[in-house]
């Protein structure tokens, strides 16, 4: 094949997949309301997608918060503004690092697992068998996982930020000797509920939507072979990272950039 044709083919494939992805999303969304009638399935998925991600999110949040505390202190101290450390740590986490890092970790921990699980169900003919039994895999398999991801990610991001703030406190107040009262009061007066926290929550909801969509779609669309599933799993992590970072720029520009 000559390069021009190859480019054309790649372009067509890209748009075809994009179209399939959106039709897939539509069918998933149509099945989301019905999930509240099968709460056991949803609970199981919330456990494996959300609860089992808590450890990695907690540990990462703590380390990131501690590093922010250290790095922030050395910059702020030059201006005699080390009392503002609380504000700096909280704003970085709530507006930016919490949603973004949680989404990236989520893709690696839960997203890849979702893709592999759904892909393997396809390989082992569990999805065709389900359709043969007149049970819709969208309703039974895909939608509960999608909804669980959608609910989990914003909560995980909140946990990440909260633990991160504690990490910053531990370093700033515990190790570097900043006044604890100043740390909290600066944070309280400078972090705005709507401008900062609500915008951060919006980000994490958007990331949760995109990250879970990519994960379940890659699984459902995987070529039903061992190799196909492993490729799909890789794609989940890579595509989620790109999507989250790209969307983060756009959302940040819209929310905080005054564009």
């Amino acid at each position: 094949m000559n390069p021009v044709r190859r480019l054309g083919r790649a372009g067509l494939n890209f748009f075809e997949r994009l179209g399939r992805g959106h039709l897939f999303l539509l069918r998933v969304l149509l099945n989301v309301p019905g999930q509240f009638l099968q709460l056991r399935l949803l609970a199981t998925q919330l456990y494996s997608v959300g609860v089992l991600s808590l450890l990695i999110i907690g540990v990462s949040g703590l380390t990131v918060g501690m590093v922010l505390g250290l790095q922030g202190y050395y910059t702020l101290v030059d201006f005699g503004a080390e009392e503002s450390l609380g504000q700096m740590v909280a704003l970085s986490l709530v507006r930016e690092l919490g949603p973004v890092l949680t989404a990236l970790l989520f893709a690696g921990r839960a997203g890849s697992a979702l893709t592999a699980e759904i892909g393997l169900m396809k390989v082992t003919e569990q999805l065709p068998a389900m359709e043969m039994m007149a049970v819709d895999p969208y309703r039974r398999v895909v939608a509960p996982r999608f909804l669980a991801g959608l609910i989990s990610l914003p909560l995980l991001a909140a946990v990440f930020s909260a633990i991160g703030v504690l990490g910053g406190y531990f370093v700033g107040v515990g190790l570097l000797g900043i006044d604890g009262g100043a740390f909290w009061s600066q944070m309280q007066s400078k972090v705005d509920f709507y401008d900062d926290i609500a915008n951060g929550v919006v980000k994490s909801v958007v990331f949760g939507f995109v990250a879970t969509w990519i994960a379940v779609f890659e699984g459902y669309d995987a070529v039903p072979t061992t190799e196909g599933v492993s490729r799909a799993t890789t794609r989940t992590v890579v595509h989620t990272a790109f999507a989250v970072l790209g969307l983060d720029f756009i959302l940040t520009a819209l929310m905080f950039g005054g564009i």
Binding site: E131, M132, M133, A134
Partner: protein
């Protein structure tokens, strides 16, 4: 029994002039197949000739490129999603690979269609599941996970699951493969009993000539996308067609192809 009398005898499932291909490669090329009510009809043929594909056409998982597939008078490819699901509730299929749900234990696998489509109380579901498992000799394995089953056991669980809703049409894809001789006998008896006692129509896909000849009411032999022989087991035994004889006796050399289409062997080696 001739084709003519089969057509007039009421067929629950019929394929007329059905062609189907996977991206250019023709798998079925204008086949006519009729599956009469209340009978066990077997499709046999070399590996890779489209037996599983035929079952998937009947269940509407695939749509024919040409021709019609009718089940209980309804044209399968004309049905919408809801219509197809209504029809499938009355069909049971035992997959070649078993296709058990890996996250559910044996009991829950068999209970799955019951929970999905009936409002039976838990005690009744338990009774039905245990009865079905008893019939395949695996009641004692009801709390094992699919990963802990051997291939033959998994297939028997799949059989129990497929009949859980007492369908009108049962399809078995290679039910005897991987079973020991005693189990083969039990599974054959089970298929026969299900068929006769519940008034099912059964479609069997298999290579095992001895078992097929013992259990089937009618047999189709397909090869290279076409029906190359059909008849009752007795008729096939007596047939003098070289195709049929090769198949029934398992002769190595003969007109039926063992190989996937390939360029000339010697040329290929020397290329």
């Amino acid at each position: 029994m001739t084709t003519q009398s089969l057509e007039t005898a009421e067929a629950l499932v019929e394929l007329r002039q059905v062609s189907f291909g996977f991206g250019g490669r023709k798998v079925l090329d204008g086949v006519d197949l009729f599956f009469p009510r209340g009978k066990i009809t077997t499709i046999m043929g070399p590996s890779g000739t489209g037996k599983t594909t035929t079952l998937r056409l009947i269940t509407g998982q695939l749509r024919p490129d040409a021709g019609v597939v009718r089940v209980a008078g309804q044209e399968v490819s004309a049905l919408d999603h809801a219509g197809l699901f209504r029809l499938r509730k009355r069909m049971g299929m035992m997959f070649q690979s078993g296709a058990l749900f890996a996250d559910l234990d044996v009991f829950e696998n068999v209970a799955f269609p019951l929970r999905a489509h009936t409002d039976l109380p838990e005690s009744m579901i338990r009774d039905v599941v245990l009865m079905k498992l008893e019939a395949v000799g695996l009641r004692g394995a009801s709390r094992l996970m699919p990963a802990a089953l051997s291939a033959g056991m998994a297939r028997r669980v799949a059989l129990a699951r497929a009949v859980a809703l007492d369908p009108m049409l049962m399809m078995y894809d290679e039910p005897f493969t991987g079973q020991d001789p005693i189990t083969v006998g039990r599974v054959m008896k089970l298929i026969r009993e299900l068929n006769d006692n519940l008034g099912l129509t059964s479609i069997l896909v298999s290579h095992d000539v001895k078992e097929i000849m013992a259990i089937s009411d009618f047999v189709y032999i397909i090869s290279q996308g076409r029906v190359i022989g059909q008849g009752s087991p007795a008729q096939l035994q007596r047939s003098d067609s070289p195709w049929i004889r090769q198949f029934i006796r398992g002769e190595r050399e003969g007109p039926a192809a063992f190989h996937y289409p390939a360029p000339d062997y010697v040329e290929d080696l020397l290329a």
